[in-house]
Subunit: 378 residues, 2 copies
Amino acid sequence: MAGLLDGVRKQLFELPRYETLGGRVLSGVRVGWESYGELNAERSNAILICHYFSGTSHAAGRYAPGDPLPGYWDAIIGPGKPIDTDRFFVLSSDTLINLNVHDPKVATTGPASIDPASGKPYGLDFPIVEIGDFVRVQRELVRSLGIEKLHAVAGPSMGGLQAFDWAVRFPEMVGRILPVICAGAADPWLVAWLDAWAAPIALDAQWNGGDYYGKAAPTAGLLQALKMVALHANDRPWALATFGTSPAAGGNPRAGLAQPFAIVDGLAQLAALRVALCDANHLLYLARANQLYVAGGADDLGAAMARVRAPVLYITTPTDHVFPPAATGATAAALRDSGARVRHLEIGGSFGHLNGLLTIGEAAEAIAAFMNDQPVAS
Amino acid sequence: MAGLLDGVRKQLFELPRYETLGGRVLSGVRVGWESYGELNAERSNAILICHYFSGTSHAAGRYAPGDPLPGYWDAIIGPGKPIDTDRFFVLSSDTLINLNVHDPKVATTGPASIDPASGKPYGLDFPIVEIGDFVRVQRELVRSLGIEKLHAVAGPSMGGLQAFDWAVRFPEMVGRILPVICAGAADPWLVAWLDAWAAPIALDAQWNGGDYYGKAAPTAGLLQALKMVALHANDRPWALATFGTSPAAGGNPRAGLAQPFAIVDGLAQLAALRVALCDANHLLYLARANQLYVAGGADDLGAAMARVRAPVLYITTPTDHVFPPAATGATAAALRDSGARVRHLEIGGSFGHLNGLLTIGEAAEAIAAFMNDQPVAS
């Protein structure tokens, strides 16, 4: 059946000059990328995968046989899988302002990068960038490989925001899109939640207005932000299956405020594993990029979805607290109203928003059919 | 039709000695209370109202004619209203560790109170208290008025936790209960969210391990905690109706991280109005009391609900993010499994959890029938 992708190799794309949507010119922009499968002679078989808020380009396979986990969408990307690397050249890149600055496999450009003009990290002098900036940098990467049209653009969560943005911004370059657990635009409810993710960082005195490079980083604030993201992206059945039904399981929280509950301790332990890899300012910039999002920079959701020409397989999950059914339903309705060729599919699972990573296999047949140009029913 | 309650008078109840469920003895415990309507000669017409997490005893009426708002459940408490003060003596008390320490109308005992033994505020030396402690202090208040049996105990959210706790802990004293937007026990999912409410406070350097009395209080952390509570307790339709559908409405958030979005600014302004009235340590202790909750101190939800003898009118709302349908459904099922006389009613609204305050009028007929002993259908 489906084979393995081993020995995935991380590569580096450099752009000497990039002007942001906001009009700032950045020199020496770098983003990492990796690929699975082979580009054909016509360069017509490329699928671009875009990553989620706290993710990296590592969408499938293993860098080395001993890696504990494969890339996040390994269930659907690989030889013989729905996004079939025997047939497609699957390309995945780190975004600008990627969160995992200190992951040796990640290359990105953001507030933690050295500003060539000063020789010091940008910090809050880095310009606000948008999802559309991620996409415009990806486009330069794609064209540097001689690819003028992508067979598909796909991604979960913030990756799905990029897929919609590609379809609106560069319709001539996109054959089809697979946006998963996302929407066609942010709205004030999402804006407020992204603020709740980010706010703990600015409360940490070590954040110091964003100027902490070379000093103690705001690790306590970053830890709480990562706990918040992990909680909001999950769901109650996961919590009860993992930590039981008793609120006080596994601890002695009657003994004093400092005594943790099992689930709080569990979230903190998972977050602690990530703090050393992440940069707090990058999280703030990522929150802002997501807050500002309307696909393609259109005026509103309706205007954005009216510009989608590519067929869409839109996959959401009804227990998503980040992109709840009312938000994904509004996106699906806007697509249908605009006459887009859209199939809206819901997947299940115990993990809320994270179903888009952890139970994406439920949609395997639909994804395979969509990528192979078989009929798409509404 | 329904008349007005004006000139509501706040009163003070003092308990010279109270031993907590955890075994700590507190001297000079004080809680505020108020009442509407008259106690009858038999002292049989008393209804106790218990308040929510960030609330006070001010459930109905106005202290003075110029008050901008009446008490939080004024829609259902008053002359001719479903909880009819022409017929019932309605009593409402501040809890222990009430959040609104600096509200001149609130009296409570908690970490901000002076420890008689030291002459200084308790701070984190205050013992962990539970919802059951709130109820046991209320029981002393009720008995001090010569009341041996309450016609009903009612309340929204944390007030509903108290109503369930009363029914389990003191079944002989409770004629019926009206728990609203709540559950019969906390679970790990709720525990984690309560941690998310509280965590910003400990990130504020001015929190200083809880020792900030007489110094600068952790107002930035408290403000973010209050923003978090307000967001989690509301819902997306409110956000879009109030702030529009454009994510960047009303601000210039592309200009820099410090530029706010309208909804974030709105939540911050509302929270700022409350910061000066609230105490940060009290919020931490309230979160802990709610996290520890199983009604009546039972082993688990099923054991707790099996001990409910009083008829129950249980009102929830399907868009509640604090007590979501899976949690309220588990409580309703446990009540039914135990053979309790329960009617489970759902109300609508655009405000999520806050529907239990803002659209409680939808349940007016059911509440009136329940209080007047008319038949309760399942």
